[in-house]
């Protein structure tokens, strides 16, 4: 019973996450300028990844597997935000000049 509930939870969460990824990718491809593309991408992907990792948590061994997954999430958040900061700054500077 418990495993079925967990499996359903995983399926819902991962699907939701995938949906956000899809939305983010559509935004990347369809939005007009760099900043709004960046906006779509970071928001949707961070949320999407968070949901996927949340969904995977019940499927993995505790506590190290979960810890590793959590670490992956944090690292990607940090790297993603730093990267978009750099891209954003570059765009801002080019607009100014």
């Amino acid at each position: 019973m418990m495993t079925v509930v967990m499996a359903i939870f995983t399926i819902i969460m991962v699907s939701l996450g995938a949906l956000f990824f899809f939305a983010g990718t559509v935004g990347l491809l369809r939005f007009p300028d760099t900043l709004s593309r960046l906006h779509a991408l970071t928001k949707a992907d961070n949320l999407g990844l968070g949901l996927i990792i949340l969904g995977l948590l019940p499927q993995i061994d505790w506590p190290f597997g979960a810890l590793k997954l959590g670490l992956v999430w944090v690292l990607i958040l940090v790297a993603g935000s730093a990267a978009s900061q750099i891209v954003g700054r570059k765009v801002y500077e080019e607009d100014k000049s």
């Binding site: 690292l75 940090v78 790297a79 730093a82």
Partner: protein, 310 residues
């Protein structure tokens, strides 16, 4: 009906599209980005092919460090105007040749025998002797250790070759990536968080390599990538190529390999043979030295030859 073939076909098609993008793309930079994405997708393919060790190496070396190398090259590259495009006849001839190669290869691949020959059973049966749980590491470090040692020499030789492409007047100086790192920007912030974690992850990768997917290459590449991040964010400068400690670090892996090889001669009577009881600790010692040497060599290969006077 299974959904797997559709998924695999889609993935394979995506890999081909990205490869085509990297080959045919108009701008260098976009092509390199396409290539990095290609490398990451390929790592996924390796997972599907049940080869996690290769997936890690492909992601770290094939996609990651190669991508960094090509991006650095793009940044330094000065476009030369008026490079003639090859004539259309040559293009058609080349396309015909490549199509023939592809078709021939497909025919041969489809003709491969079934059931296929394999050494998996043989390797599995010999795994106990090596004391390792990961068959791929056992092949690399025991059965075909000679290849691994020679391949370390290849890596070192490539670095010496890269150094030899430098100019005489700057010999002994530092490599220079030719762009100014932003100090205290977001990259520095990222570097400060990521580097300790990345180095730890690199050590972890080689440590588990004996029994689980991982190993010296993936670990070394990750540590090298952290070194590159430190350079890009302006935290450190590349060492001078005359730096003695650097030079020892470069050869340490091969030196330990040779030492262990001859130790095998003395103790067991065979080069690179390990006494059963000590096999695992010996392999761990080699892998520590190798990870260190690989990390430094990959790092120095990306930053290139000396550019600034000592």
């Amino acid at each position: 009906m299974s959904i797997a073939p559709i998924l695999f076909s889609t993935l394979a098609a995506l890999v081909v599209v990205l490869a085509a993008f990297a080959v045919f793309g108009r701008r260098h930079f976009a092509s390199v980005i396409g290539f990095v994405a290609f490398g990451l997708l390929l790592a996924l393919v390796w997972m599907i092919l049940s080869a996690p060790d290769v997936a890690l190496t492909e992601a770290a070396v094939g996609g990651g460090v190669t991508g960094a190398l090509l991006l650095c090259a793009c940044a330094r590259w000065r476009e030369i105007q008026g490079v003639p495009q090859p004539p259309i006849v040559l293009r058609i001839a080349a396309a015909g040749l490549c199509a023939a190669v592809t078709v021939g290869l497909i025919i041969v691949v489809l003709s491969l025998p079934s059931p296929p020959p394999t050494l998996a059973t043989t390797a599995w049966d010999s795994l106990d002797v090596t004391g390792m749980g990961n068959a791929v590491t056992a092949v690399l470090m025991a059965f075909r250790a000679l290849d691994t040692m020679l391949e370390k020499v290849v890596l070192l030789l490539a670095l010496i070759a890269v150094w030899s492409f430098g100019r005489d007047c700057v010999w002994g100086g530092r490599p220079d990536l030719m762009f100014l790192p932003q100090k205290n920007g977001p990259l520095t912030f990222l570097a400060k968080i990521l580097i300790p974690v990345g180095v730890l992850a690199g050590i972890y990768l080689f440590w588990v390599g004996a029994d689980k997917p991982g190993g010296a290459f993936a670990g070394g590449a990750l540590i090298a990538a952290m070194g590159l991040l430190a350079i890009f964010s302006g935290l450190i400068r590349p060492p001078s190529i005359e730096n003695l400690r650097l030079r020892w670090a470069l050869v340490l892996g091969i030196l330990v390999f040779l030492g262990v090889g001859f130790l095998g001669f003395a103790m067991v009577g065979d080069f690179l043979a390990y006494p059963s009881a000590l096999a695992k600790p010996i392999i761990v010692v080699i892998e520590i030295a190798m990870t260190l040497s690989i990390a430094f060599t990959l790092f120095m290969l990306v930053v290139g030859p000396a550019e600034k006077k000592p």
